[in-house]
């Protein structure tokens, strides 16, 4: 965990350019000049590999992070570090900077900042939700309901609570009545009550009271931190762009052809745009359709003309942002569909030029909707109408093929589905792993869907031509991957709401690398920029108002 407010004695001195250039230099950093270098050590380990060192210039919204190599050395390239004074932070589980650190960067005089870390007395404050999941005793079935807690907050507040089982019942029922587009700094109550069965709440509450602090001042179980990055996982540079308000919750992130980064704001009625070259930020407001209902949009997708579409969640309906005129056009639901619980989380306009139709969903009724652009009318399709009732179906992640047939993820259950755009015939393909809860997806140019199996800790591929699946385990249990994206090199990327790690997996070999992020980062939709070499990973930090760029060095 980054230590933010610790006093530190920092040894900082100028070194020669020659000395600085002996720092790590691979990939796009090869041949570059470093303006800030140093070595990270501790009394316990000596030189420390896999320590994230972050530098943030005074007054800047941009934080740059590099990782120490096996000799404990780190280096910040000159091109990323304008002159100025930088505050330094670190992330290394079990360690902290004993006092605040900083360095003056001058392009003409490279600086050195060696960092001596101190052991923390208590690592509990540094654990990710993934590490709490791994530490807590209990069965997979007992832990399974907790994976939705991370939609709004980490597990830290759950395990630190002192609620008894009885007290937790009311807490769970109260939590369930916040809209899922809530954050701790911007909670949004549901308008229509969502009743939770008492017996179900009591079952979860009974378990939670065994893993929190209701019976003791300290957890009775061993805390199990994940190891620090090593080897290839240290060869990365990460840039975080703070957004101007703490309440901004970037959910889906996409780049346009001009290099701007666009994002949906999960809790406020704005479409956001970041210029990563300058850090400049701009927002575009759209009117609330249902004042008083939770605000914010989830899915952000471009149509064939590069205009942006938003799924308006509890505001219901869809919004299209014309990038030329910079105006919104709203597509509200008709009264018969716009119930108090109507919720559009997804939108798929990519192939709307084929037939003038845009796909979306209605979470509450577990159905798919299709918008006719010419009339503004919606058609409703229930692909599970003939399936056993009582299952939690929920069409979620969506893509459309070249003929604007829909493929969707059944996030509530375990299937990939297809809806024919002409006949509405529904075909359901159960994933090999039961109860996998496939979440977000992308379609590659070979007709393969790549997707995250949220509840199965797996990534999946569905070949739409062969109608067959492949699955890969993610390397760290309790990652709960949210999304998957195949890059131009055939490598698969994923992010997580719980682990603060970015996964890069080679589907051919099954080998993978996990990049640790500098801060607690709730990752939702991810985007890979294939125009760079190596490719560039983008995501939003949904709970901490930042856009994250990750550049592997190989």
């Amino acid at each position: 965990m980054i230590v933010t407010c610790v006093r530190v004695a920092l040894v900082s001195f100028l070194v020669s350019i020659a000395a600085a250039s002996s720092s790590p230099a691979d990939g796009f950093l090869a041949g570059q000049r470093f303006v800030l270098t140093g070595r990270v050590t501790s009394a316990q380990e000596g030189p420390m590999e896999g320590v994230l060192v972050s530098a943030k210039r005074d007054g800047s919204p941009i934080t740059v992070t590099v990782v120490t190599d096996k000799t404990g050395r780190y280096g910040f390239p000159a091109e990323r570090m304008p002159a100025g004074h930088y505050a330094l932070q670190i992330r290394a589980i079990g360690y902290e900077l004993p006092t605040p650190a900083g360095a003056d960067v001058d392009p003409e005089q490279p600086a050195n900042a060696d960092l001596a870390l101190a052991k923390v007395a208590d690592i509990s404050g540094q654990l990710t939700s993934t590490e709490w999941f791994a530490s807590m005793p209990g069965t997979a079935e007992q832990k399974r309901p907790l994976i939705e807690c991370m939609s709004c907050h980490t597990l830290d507040r759950v395990v630190r609570s002192k609620f008894t089982a009885d007290e937790f019942v009311d807490v769970l029922k109260r939590m369930a009545n916040y809209a899922n587009n809530s954050t701790t700094v911007h909670p949004q109550p549901r308008i229509v009550e969502r009743p939770i069965p008492d017996d179900r709440a009591r079952k979860v509450a009974a378990y939670l009271s065994t893993v929190n602090l209701s019976k003791a001042d300290r957890w009775a179980y061993e805390l199990k931190p994940l190891p620090r990055p090593t080897g290839r996982a240290t060869r990365v540079i990460i840039t975080e762009y703070d957004l101007p308000r703490a309440t901004i919750a970037p959910h889906d992130v996409r780049a346009d052809a001009d290099g701007f980064i666009w994002y949906s704001n999960f809790v406020e009625p704005y479409l956001g745009r970041l210029d990563p070259r300058s850090g400049a930020h701009e927002e575009f407001a759209y009117p609330l359709q249902k004042p008083g209902f939770p605000a914010g949009a989830l899915a952000l997708e471009p149509d064939g003309n590069g205009n942006w579409w938003l799924a308006l969640m509890f505001q219901s309906g869809l919004a299209k942002f014309d990038t030329r005129t910079r105006t919104f056009r709203l597509y509200p639901l008709p009264p018969e569909l716009a119930s108090g619980t109507a919720q559009q989380s997804m939108v798929m306009p990519r192939q709307s030029h084929v037939d003038g139709k845009v796909w979306t969903n209605d979470v509450n009724s577990h159905s798919i909707l299709r918008l006719d652009l010419a009339t503004g009318a919606y058609e409703k399709i229930d692909p599970f109408a003939d399936m056993p009732v009582g299952r939690n179906h929920s069409p979620y992640g969506m893509v459309a093929d070249k003929d604007n047939n829909l493929f969707f993820m059944d996030f509530g259950d375990e299937s990939v589905g297809r809806v024919d755009g002409k006949t509405f015939r529904g075909t359901i393909y159960p994933t090999p792993t039961p109860r996998s809860r496939p979440r977000r997806t992308m379609l590659d140019d070979k007709g393969r869907l790549w997707f995250a199996e949220f509840a199965a800790d797996r990534l999946g591929m569905f070949d739409t031509a062969r109608e067959s699946f492949k699955e890969w385990d993610v390397p760290t249990p309790h990652t709960y991957p949210y999304d998957a994206y195949l890059d131009k090199n055939g490598e698969l990327w994923s992010g997580s709401m719980s682990s603060d790690r970015v996964l890069r997996l080679d589907p051919q070999t099954g080998t993978s690398v996990e990049y640790l992020l500098p801060h607690q980062t709730n990752v939702r939709r991810i985007y890979i920029d294939d125009t760079t070499t190596p490719v560039t990973f983008w995501a939003g930090n949904n709970h901490h108002a930042a856009i994250v760029k990750l550049e592997p060095l190989d």
């Binding site: 399974r144 309901p145 994976i147 939705e148 939609s151 769970l172 369930a176 899922n180 587009n181 969502r194 009743p195 939770i196 069965p197 179900r200 709440a201 079952k203 979860v204 989830l298 619980t341 919720q343 989380s345 997804m346 969903n361 979470v363 509450n364 009724s365 577990h366 159905s367 058609e379 409703k380 399709i381 229930d382 692909p383 109408a385 003939d386 399936m387 056993p388 009732v389 009582g390 299952r391 939690n392 929920s394 069409p395 979620y396 996030f411 509530g412 006949t423 509405f424 015939r425 529904g426 075909t427 359901i428 393909y429 159960p430 809860r437 979440r439 949220f454 109608e467 067959s468 699946f469």
Partner: protein, 135 residues
Amino acid sequence: MKTSERASLLLGLALFVPLAITTAAFAGGASLDEDEEDASNAGVSFFGFAKDLNRGGGVPDAKVSADIKNRNASLVTRTDDQGHFKFSGFSKEIDPKDVEITCTKDGYKLQRTVRRQAPGDQVSTVEVDCLMVKP
């Protein structure tokens, strides 16, 4: 069928089928609701093998489709390494006699399917074997 008629039909079907869970889950999934599945609503499930009549043994990685007569939905899966497949099935309103199971695989031809089910009114599973040959 015109689009509007199709939409009306589908909307009608959607309204006809009772919603087991009337409350919205989180961003689209389950959680506290998740264990509310009611097995008593499940219909007949199907399982069986795709069998190679020439060599004997199972046919792995065959596509298996379950289609309901005169309805607009199907389930698709593939056989495992032993040629086995299973479907959790459709809703209990669907008569298992109206469910057709077919198997396909490149290089094979489906000769016929064999259905077996336990006698009695309360049928919960139906075994269907696909007997396949190489032409």
